[in-house]
């Protein structure tokens, strides 16, 4: 019996019959305690040999003398198995956290994980957090909004959403962290407490659940909804071109196959219509922040026209403050300005509609990074991204609170 520890696996390429015979002879030398796996007997063939440390020198010397090609496939079998076991345990741990304190905020999660997190957070903070289902996605998934409220009726509200474009994974991950941050800071952080005493915060973390599910199971780069388009083999509408603001104008596509397809009509997507209905029926939202990635920008209306919005000066100054606060944490540098000047012309966009509804503090974020990783931002950047973005959000929310009756 040889313990798994201190075993190497060598992969050998046998070029001809002579070499194959030599390897066979080698494998029959019992004192070496070799384990030989051979796939086929066609030549050239790969032979894997499990070699205990005690026999390594002998075996390698033999192979080199006979000019048989090999390389070390697995340096230490036990180490590899231990690593695998640890990985499985940690994923088991990650998939079933028992409290929101156990939840792994520094990793990307499935939609099931995030929905479970939402319910946990509500259960742990029944006096602060409730879940509102504002509608259903095309495929019937609930559109969940967490409401953070210290009570009262028809208080002015702040809306935050993440994940409207499903491939922008750092946003859903950040949204999850924001939810936890709010419950942690209420009663401990003066600024956040003051905001919540005066206003409610609404947070939709998985704004495009069908798309998000699709990025996990089929296509990591999926952006749109998953609703089929009649007469086309192409699926989905861009939910950030589907709003009734400049709808039909330049800055969106009329082709269902396009990533910026505006949809058959404004608010055709239930993911969008549900928010529209919520905003209208609430009637007292004062700020609306829609979060995307990537590019590191903070944007205000408009995207569909070059005409500056009425409050451009105030929004511009507030954006400057927000990104200055953001940069204070890790030095991350953001650009800011109107959508149409800073990034491109885009029609049917979310914050153009919300601004035209009278929600003055309408902003869009584009989070990290600026192109090196793009949509596939490493998980170890989730927490830094969420933390720095939170500082910008706090600047916006505080200003909103101070300018709301």
């Amino acid at each position: 019996f040889v313990s798994l520890s201190q075993l190497q696996v060598l992969r050998i390429t046998a070029r001809d019959e002579v070499q194959l015979t030599l390897l066979k002879d080698l494998s029959e030398m019992e004192y070496l305690q070799l384990d030989v796996w051979m796939e086929t007997t066609d030549l050239p063939t790969s032979v894997d040999i499990r070699v205990p440390f005690t026999s390594l020198q002998t075996v390698k010397a033999f192979l080199e003398t006979e000019d048989i090609e090999y390389f070390i496939m697995i340096k230490d079998l036990q180490v590899m198995l231990d690593e695998e076991k640890e990985q499985m345990l940690s994923s088991a741990r990650a998939t079933a956290p028992r409290t929101s304190d156990d939840y792994d905020y520094s990793n990307y999660h499935t939609i099931a994980d995030i929905y479970a997190f939402q319910d946990m957070l509500v259960a742990e903070n029944p006096n602060l957090v409730s879940k509102i289902v504002i509608g259903q996605s095309y495929q019937g998934r609930p559109l969940n909004v967490l409401k953070f409220s210290t009570g009262g009726t028809n208080k002015p509200g702040i809306w935050l959403d993440t994940g409207i474009h499903s491939r922008e994974w750092v946003t859903q991950a950040s949204g999850t962290w924001f939810a936890k941050k709010i419950v942690t800071d209420y009663g401990r952080d003066a600024a956040l407490t003051a905001i919540l005493d005066k206003m409610d915060i609404f947070l939709e973390i998985v704004t495009n659940p069908d798309g998000y599910y699709y990025t996990h199971t089929s296509n990591r780069m999926w952006r749109k909804t998953r609703k089929p388009n009649p007469g086309s083999s192409c699926i989905g509408t861009d939910p950030n071109r589907n709003w009734d603001a400049g709808f039909g104008g330049p800055g969106a596509s009329d082709s269902p196959c396009s990533e910026t397809y505006r949809g058959p009509k404004a608010h055709s997507e239930s993911e969008v219509k549900s928010i529209v209905d919520f905003v209208k029926s609430h009637g007292n939202l004062q700020a609306f922040v829609s979060i995307h990635s990537y590019s590191q920008m903070l944007l205000y209306p408009y995207g569909y026209t070059r005409t500056p919005c009425k409050d451009e000066s105030e929004l511009h100054n507030l954006a400057r403050k927000a990104i200055t606060d953001l940069a204070s944490l890790y030095g991350t540098s953001y650009r800011y300005g109107s959508i149409i000047n800073t990034i491109y012309q885009a029609s049917g966009g979310t914050i153009d509609w919300t601004y035209n509804q009278g929600i003055k503090y309408s902003y869009t974020f584009e989070l990290r990074d600026t192109g090196r990783y793009g949509f596939i931002l490493p998980a170890n950047q989730i927490l830094p991204t969420a933390k720095e973005t939170w500082l910008a959000l706090m600047a916006i929310m505080e200003h909103t609170k101070d300018n709301t009756n």
Binding site: N107, T215, T260, G337, I343, Q345, R372, G374
Partner: protein
């Protein structure tokens, strides 16, 4: 600081002369100005990493996506460094620098646009930019002055770029490049990989230089495909396969995903890349892959 200076277009365009004096660094020493040629080999007399401009054989397939109708206003005069015209042009310079100097251990990204201007010159659009670029493996930054010409008219030809940078290429990559080259030039162990980075942004350490190389090779395509209405980044290396070393060049087949920001499309390209420390990165073939509308790729697995 950008907002303070550039929030009011009229105020700041009057002050542009003053701004030029304050902001523009003088680039005198360092790397020689290099002019890009289309088609031929490394520049004569250059002591820089002689990546050659691609002699590409394109197999272009027609895309099904209709063109996005974008109402573009072509800015002329001083450009706001925060706004997209300067930013798109600066990204073209980034691609250019990677085609010239990139390697498995050298990958350059735009850090900051300091100032820029654009003008119409005959049928073409000429940009001048002052930039900070960063080599992201060594984290060394450098100041660059660049001039670009976007061809006008019906032609599909690539932009022409000239750039001169100070301090950007300081890092000594010789040892790493040589080790990587020696490790992979022998034919008994061809490397391949897929989904780099994976869905979670992760990659094995031994895949990193191949990721960098894929990014640099993609720059040849991104440079060639760029115009004033595009902004390209490499989104992911879908897969790569090392082929037999030939004429002392490592050879790798790549399938890359490019992200074009304005259309938001993910564009698939296959490319045949060679590299050696001496010859630099060369792209021998590029092939646009048709967009697959209902493709279900196998799920990316965590490693």
């Amino acid at each position: 600081m950008d907002g303070l200076l550039f929030s009011d277009l009229t105020v700041w365009s009057m002050d542009w002369t003053l701004l030029i004096l304050l902001v523009v660094p003088t680039v005198v020493h360092g790397n020689p100005t290099v002019t890009v040629r289309t088609g031929s080999g490394p520049p004569v007399g250059s002591n820089q990493h002689p990546n050659s401009v691609p002699l590409s054989e394109d197999t272009q397939t027609t895309t099904e996506v209709r063109e996005v109708v974008v109402e573009e206003v072509m800015m002329t005069g001083m450009l706001n460094p925060s706004h997209y015209p300067a930013r798109r042009a600066a990204t073209v310079v980034q691609h250019y620098l990677n085609t010239r100097y990139g390697s498995p251990y050298r990958w350059i990204f735009l850090s900051k646009v300091h100032s820029g201007s654009a003008e119409d010159v005959a049928e073409m659009r000429k940009y001048q930019l002052e930039l900070t670029m960063q080599e992201i493996i060594s984290n060394v930054s450098g100041q660059c002055s660049a001039e670009l010409l976007f061809p006008g008219g019906e032609g599909q030809s690539a932009p022409q770029v000239q750039a001169s940078c100070e301090g950007l290429l300081q890092s000594n990559t010789t040892a790493q490049e040589e080790a990587f080259y020696q490790q992979h030039r022998a034919s008994n162990n061809m490397v391949s990989g897929n989904d780099i980075p994976d869905s979670y942004g992760h990659m094995e350490p031994n895949m990193k230089p191949f990721w960098h190389l894929g990014g640099v090779a993609s720059s040849f395509i991104m440079l060639r495909e760029s115009n004033e209405s595009t902004l390209y980044n490499m989104a992911q290396v879908a897969n790569f396969t090392q082929l037999e070393t030939e004429k002392d060049q490592l050879r790798v087949n790549y399938h890359v995903l490019l992200h074009e920001m304005i259309s938001q499309e993910i564009i698939h390209w296959k490319l045949l890349v060679t590299w050696s420390p001496e010859q630099g990165v060369q792209v021998l073939q590029t092939e646009l892959q048709p967009k697959c509308h209902n493709c279900e790729a196998p799920p990316n697995t965590t490693n």
